[in-house]
Structure formats: structure tokens, C-alpha cells
């Protein structure tokens, strides 16, 4: 099977990046996993660019603004919103491939398939309330700048509170991943990563007061509900992208414990990480 395939591998070309990519496409037994991993890396880059730079929806604007100020915000960001979210609509399906890779990590563990299935289903639904509702409603808002300001603020609240206030999917999803890692005997991830999942789950508890407060540290743009949560989420994302990469490098397509990285794999890995920095 896979060992026969790896046994017959032609030598990896060095040199041109394009030739290396072609080699992986043709011969790399892990190409499916790498496609999913690169999808994840590219998605988060685009996500950051579109939400922080193009649409200016992150960090979020003030929840305490009067309707007139909200209308002004829509005016200032009109084309950023309309164009930025058009790109969000194009790339939103990438999340399915990313979720597949995370579900695969649980399938590779010694735990029941129920964990991978649960995660896949929970995160399949997370994009709609957690991201697309914001993009759709803000597009609707930006399309007609002359709408009644009260209605514009109705849309504005709808957009930002569904984005921040969809908590359960990420809470339960992270807990499912955490329990799977804690029970796993195949050493797919280090146990400390389970607790980082717990931190990510707790950010969804911390964000709940945004449903109540319109200014201060607990508002939807507050120091606690936004800045700390984003700091945890960014750390969490960087860590799981790194750990998933190590998982793919270690993958032996067996069912037992994942082998540790060999010394030269580890070296190549750290070299790449340095290059990436």
C-alpha cells in the first residue's frame, strides 16, 4: 500500500519551486493532507486581510453609536464592504476542507469516530451564523445607503452580534477536540494542546456579556470580549496549524501511535519555520 508507494518514489527535485510542487502533486503519498493544510494556511491569510484591511469590520466599530454615526460608518466603508465580502463569499467554502483536516486528526486518534463526525458537523454549521450572516447583512446595509437610519442600525446590530455572539458552535467544537486529544493513545497531539482548546472554548464564555453591554470592556469591541479573545484565537490558530503540519509529517498511515519526527525531518521542519518567520 502506502509503503510500496513510498518505496518506489523517484528522487525529489531540488531547485525550482514549481518543479517541487509538480513532484509532490504526482508522487507525494500525503498530497491530500497537504492540500488541506495549505488551504487552511491560505484561508486564514485571506480571512485576516479581508476582515481587518478590506472591510474594516475587525476590530469592530462601536456598539454605542447613534444611528446617524452608523450610517456614516457604512458610507465610509461602502466599497470595502461590498468588494471585501464578495471575496469572502468566494472563499467561505474553503472552511470545509480545513474542517476535514481537523476531523482527520481525530480519526487518526485511538478514539471513536463519533468525535470526528461531531466536529465536522458542528463546524460545517459554524460558518453560517459565525461569519456569513455578518457578510450578508452588511452587504445588504451597504447596498442601500439611503435607508432609514434606525433600520441601518438594526442591520448593524444583527451583523456584529451574530458574528461575536455565535458562541456554542465554537465552544462545543473546541471541547470535542479537547476530549479527543485527552483520550487519544496515538499521541497525535501533545496533551497541552488539549488545554489550549479549553482556553479557546472559554473565550466563547467570556464573549457572552457582549449581548448585554454596549460600552466598556465587555462590549462587542471591548478589551476583554474582543482583544483578549482575538489574542487567544490567533495563538490557538497558529499553534494548531503548526501541530497539524507536524502531524502530516509524522503520518505513517497506520492505526497505532504516530511515530515521532526523525532528526532530519525535525531539522527541515525547524528550517522551514525559520524561513516562514
Amino acid at each position: 500500500m502506502s509503503s510500496a508507494e513510498t518505496g518506489a518514489l523517484p528522487e525529489r527535485p531540488s531547485g525550482l519551486r514549481l518543479r517541487r510542487i509538480v513532484w509532490h502533486w504526482r508522487h507525494d503519498p500525503k498530497r491530500e493532507l497537504w492540500i488541506a493544510w495549505w488551504t487552511m494556511v491560505i484561508f486564514y491569510q485571506l480571512f485576516g486581510l479581508l476582515f481587518f484591511v478590506v472591510t474594516r469590520t475587525q476590530p469592530p466599530p462601536e456598539p454605542s453609536w447613534e444611528p446617524a454615526r452608523v450610517v456614516q460608518w457604512f458610507d465610509e466603508n461602502r466599497y470595502g464592504l461590498l468588494i471585501g465580502f464578495a471575496f469572502v463569499f468566494i472563499i467561505s467554502g474553503m472552511t470545509s476542507i480545513m474542517n476535514a483536516l481537523i476531523a482527520y486528526s481525530m480519526r487518526r486518534m485511538s478514539v471513536s469516530r463519533a468525535f470526528a463526525y461531531s466536529y465536522l458537523v458542528i463546524y460545517a454549521l459554524s460558518t453560517l451564523p459565525g461569519m456569513l450572516l455578518l457578510a450578508i447583512t452588511l452587504t445588504v446595509g451597504a447596498m442601500r445607503p439611503d435607508r432609514d437610519p434606525e433600520l441601518v442600525r438594526w442591520i448593524y446590530d444583527f451583523a456584529f452580534m451574530t458574528f461575536d455572539g455565535t458562541m456554542g458552535v465554537f465552544l462545543v467544537g473546541s471541547l470535542v477536540w479537547m476530549v479527543a486529544i485527552l483520550l487519544d493513545k496515538n499521541r497525535v497531539f501533545p496533551k497541552w494542546f488539549a488545554y489550549l482548546n479549553l482556553c479557546n472554548a472559554l473565550t466563547e464564555v467570556v464573549v457572552a456579556p457582549a449581548w448585554i453591554f454596549k460600552s466598556g470592556v465587555f462590549a462587542w469591541n471591548g478589551v476583554i470580549t474582543w482583544w483578549i479573545d482575538v489574542a487567544v484565537f490567533v495563538t490557538y490558530t497558529i499553534v494548531f496549524i503548526t501541530l497539524l503540519r507536524r502531524m502530516i509529517l509524522r503520518e505513517d498511515f497506520g492505526t497505532g501511535p504516530l511515530p515521532e519526527l526523525s532528526p532530519d525531518q525535525a531539522l527541515a521542519s525547524s528550517g522551514l519555520m525559520k524561513a516562514a518567520r
Binding site: 485511538s110 454549521l125 434606525e150 451574530t162 455572539g165 455565535t166 483520550l183 464564555v205
Partner: protein, 242 residues
């Protein structure tokens, strides 16, 4: 048989026992929400609906109960994944029914989460124009009441899977299939909620509110018990063959 016998089942018991805890949370949130204990009527005027959200005592209970639902409604999904795994053990030729359940699993919780967001939004800025609060309130109630499609499909799929599980010791007993069809029937009238402002079909009515919600609660409780039995029996059998 050796390799197949050591099926990966770690963690299923943990996922199963989250259910009674979640059930308790769901029940408390249901009782805490002032709009459920005496369900709000669709006949309420915009001013009455706005007053309902502006009442300080109501407001806190609306927010806390809906935040609880927002956190924990999705917790139902691991239970559905466990049901899918039990259906996979049935004497079927293909995994069609277990795949169907997996594909269906996101439906119910996602739609409930949408209704939940509308309620929370109505409570977010209760001082807004009453007509706009009414709009959020209508969106919440109609989303909550009318969206029975995925739960109906889920019950019918489980029933079909059980009827076709033709083996000496089926995974679930026959009555579970009959029960699922009964639940599917009990959920159906709620889809007509848009036609009635009062009476049994209205969103606060006997059929749409009480029959439908009791059917959903019963389905979760009964499926939790039969699923638990099936999982423990499976563990005993596999322990015996190992």
C-alpha cells in the same frame, strides 16, 4: 475478526453521559425564558412586544436563558453522531442511513441557533423602535416554530433504518421505529405556523408549541436511553469476544 473486534470506541461513554447534563441545562434555560413558560402570542402588538423586552426582570431572564441555549444547544450533535454509529452497525447493505443522519445533524441545532440569535438581538437594544423589535421577535418565533424539516427527516431516517435492520438481534427494537414515526407526525403541523395568529397552529398554540416541543424533548430522552443501552450492550458483546 481480531482487528475488527478492537473497534475504536474510546470516549463514547463520555459523549453519552454529557446528555443528561445538557438535558438539565436545556430544561433550566427553557423554564428561565419568560416567553416560553407562558408562550408569547403572535397577536401581541408591537408596543406589547417592546414592553415585554423592556421589562427589566424579563430582560435579564431573556438574555441569560438565551445565552445558555446559545452555548449548549449544539451539544446535541455528538448524540446524533453516536446514533449514526449505531445505525452503521445495522444489517444494511450501504451506509446510506448513517450518512443521512450525519448530513442531517447540523440542521436542527443551526436553525435553533438562528432563532436564538433573533431573540438575543431583540433583547440587545430593547429601546429601539417597537416595530423593529417586533420584526426580530417574529423572525425568532417563526424560525423556531416552523423549521421542523430536519428533525422530521431525522426521525424518518432512524425509523427506516430500524425497519430495514433485519437481523436476529437488531440494534434498536421495533417500537423505537414506531416511536420515531409518531414524533415525525407530531412535528408536522408546526410548519403551518404562518397561517394562524391564534388557535392550535399559532406559534403559542397546542400543536405548534406544546405538542412539538414535548415531542422533541421526548425524542431526545427516549433516543438517549435506547442509545445508551445499545452502546453498553455493544461493549459487553465486544468484551466477551475479545
Amino acid at each position: 475478526m481480531g482487528v475488527l473486534g478492537t473497534r475504536q470506541a474510546d470516549g463514547e461513554i463520555i459523549l453519552l453521559w454529557t446528555l443528561p447534563v445538557l438535558g438539565l441545562i436545556w430544561l433550566s434555560a427553557f423554564l428561565l425564558f419568560p416567553g416560553f413558560v407562558r408562550p408569547m402570542s403572535p397577536r401581541m402588538s408591537a408596543e406589547e412586544v417592546a414592553a415585554f423586552y423592556r421589562d427589566p426582570e424579563n430582560l435579564a431572564r431573556i438574555r441569560y436563558s438565551m445565552i445558555l441555549f446559545n452555548w449548549f444547544a449544539v451539544g446535541l450533535i455528538p448524540l446524533l453522531a453516536l446514533i449514526a454509529l449505531q445505525i452503521r452497525r445495522m444489517a444494511h447493505r450501504t451506509p446510506i442511513f448513517s450518512y443521512s443522519i450525519i448530513a442531517c445533524a447540523a440542521g436542527g441545532p443551526t436553525i435553533f441557533l438562528l432563532a436564538n440569535l433573533f431573540w438575543l438581538l431583540a433583547a440587545f437594544r430593547p429601546e429601539r423602535d417597537p416595530e423593529l423589535t417586533l420584526l426580530f421577535n417574529d423572525l425568532a418565533w417563526v424560525t423556531f416554530a416552523s423549521q421542523v424539516g430536519f428533525p422530521i427527516a431525522q426521525s424518518v431516517i432512524v425509523a427506516l433504518a430500524i425497519y430495514l435492520d433485519r437481523q436476529a438481534r437488531p440494534v434498536f427494537k421495533r417500537w423505537v421505529a414506531h416511536f420515531n414515526l409518531l414524533v415525525a407526525a407530531a412535528l408536522t403541523p408546526a410548519s403551518f405556523v404562518g397561517l394562524a395568529m391564534g388557535g392550535p397552529l399559532a406559534w403559542d398554540g397546542l400543536l405548534t408549541f406544546w405538542v412539538r416541543n414535548v415531542a422533541i424533548a421526548l425524542w431526545i430522552a427516549v433516543m438517549g436511553v435506547v442509545l445508551g443501552r445499545a452502546i453498553y450492550r455493544q461493549r459487553d458483546e465486544e468484551g466477551a469476544t475479545a
